[in-house]
């Protein structure tokens, strides 16, 4: 197949398969009504999967439409540089959000061998249809909502390669829902947009010389 890859979650209810590799015990599913969701609650590992039908470059992005979540309980999201399977092996950078605008309800997380670290916290509300976006370029990880950066790019060098994917977490109770995932490679030619991760890095580096 060719990138960008897409998933519209249409079809019968059940776990995403085929071009998808599920990373942990709970899976990313179609809900039978055209949305994505999680297979069930897992208070510690969430649910995640990555696209396996194409090879991604290290500079990659993923985006997904937020549909519904629940504060401190049901998180929607997308991931980049996802690799490996199992609750003690899975790796990924993920943008996760519950919809609540309270700080801590939108997080940029790096998971290494199943252990998650919150790299950034955002106070950002999300409504159904909002686009969640995460990109990784070299050591720069950037999250956006509807095309606007949530903050400065985060510098983290832990994961250097992998695939774009979907990440979610149903801590308890209600399952999150989401729609219209896309994952692909970032363009080689840098666009001189002040908001891009590359240029943020360049601006910071230049300012500090």
């Amino acid at each position: 197949m060719a990138l960008p890859a897409t998933e519209n979650f249409a079809g019968a209810a059940g776990a995403l398969g085929g071009s998808w590799t599920q990373q942990v015990t709970q899976t990313i599913n179609k809900n039978g009504s055209g949305l994505g969701t999680t297979s069930g609650a897992d208070a510690t590992n969430g649910a995640s999967c990555y696209w396996n039908a194409d090879t991604f470059s290290a500079a990659q992005y993923a985006k997904i439409k937020f549909q519904s979540g629940a504060a401190s309980s049901a998180y929607c999201g997308c991931s980049v540089r996802a690799t490996d399977t199992g609750t003690t092996a899975a790796d990924r950078y993920a943008l996760l959000a519950t919809g609540s605008g309270t700080s801590g309800q939108t997080q940029l997380i790096v998971t290494v061998n199943g252990a998650a670290t919150t790299l950034a916290n955002y106070a950002q509300a999300w409504s159904a249809g909002d686009e969640m976006y995460i990109e990784a370029r070299a050591s720069s990880i950037l999250a956006k909502r509807n095309g606007t950066a949530l903050g400065a790019a985060i510098t983290n060098s832990t994961l250097t390669a992998g695939s774009a994917g979907i990440a979610a977490a149903q801590v308890a109770g209600t399952a999150p829902t989401f729609d219209d995932w896309e994952g692909g490679n970032l363009p080689r030619a840098y666009v001189f947009d002040k908001g891009s991760a590359f240029n943020r890095g360049a601006v910071f580096a230049g300012a500090l010389r």
């Binding site: 510690t44 969430g46 700080s103 801590g104 199943g114 670290t117 919150t118 580096a205």
Partner: protein, 190 residues
């Protein structure tokens, strides 16, 4: 806006992720949460956060929190030993710090060291800093040594100054100082 060096709390299992103590919790005065960027380094992390006056004062009063002075201030002779000792107490090599370094210089190197450690973690052979700082390269396991070399290469760092008898402490300084001159560190305004 301020920078802090704080302990890391959490189990690493979502939603109890590894996160900075105090700033990542919901106890007063952080009951409403606070936006932050976080660069972990083993059991300690550097945080950039938009704290209020009350929150900043709260953090400054905690014995396990280091509040970083304004970035463009020089360390100065009067604070040199304090800076070195406090960083060393957190298992961060700091004997290279001089009075003429600015705190921006110091924090860029510390975050650079953290980035190098992150790469070794992602490569599956994390070099833990506590307890290993004074080992020579030929005293650490070969697989960790190879991962450290690979990590330096991934970050485009010049490791020509590293030999078999270079200590881990010195390796981190040699490689970390390469971040002082402008290599990509973008934690907040750092």
């Amino acid at each position: 806006m301020s920078f802090y060096v704080v302990p890391i709390i959490g189990t690493g299992k979502f939603p109890d992720t590894f996160r900075p103590k105090y700033l990542g919790d919901t106890a007063v005065p952080f009951q409403d949460g606070i936006p932050y960027d976080f660069c972990p380094l083993d059991d300690t992390g550097v945080v950039y956060a938009q704290t209020s006056v009350v929150q900043d004062a709260f953090l400054a009063a905690q014995p396990d929190v280091q509040v970083i002075p304004p970035l463009d201030e020089q360390v100065g002779a009067g604070r040199l030993n304090t800076v070195r000792n406090r960083l060393e107490a957190l298992n961060i090599p700091a004997q290279w710090v001089t009075a003429s370094h600015t705190f921006r210089n110091v924090m860029r190197v510390v975050v650079g060291m953290a980035q190098l450690i992150h790469v070794t973690e992602g490569l599956g052979n994390k070099l833990r800093v506590p307890g290993n700082l004074d080992l020579r390269m030929n005293q650490i396991p070969a697989d960790k040594r190879a991962t450290l070399q690979q990590g330096a290469d991934i970050l485009g760092l010049d490791r020509s100054g590293v030999t078999a008898i270079t200590t881990v402490r010195e390796v981190l300084r040699i490689l970390g100082e390469q971040f002082m001159a402008g290599r990509g560190v973008s934690l907040g305004d750092l």
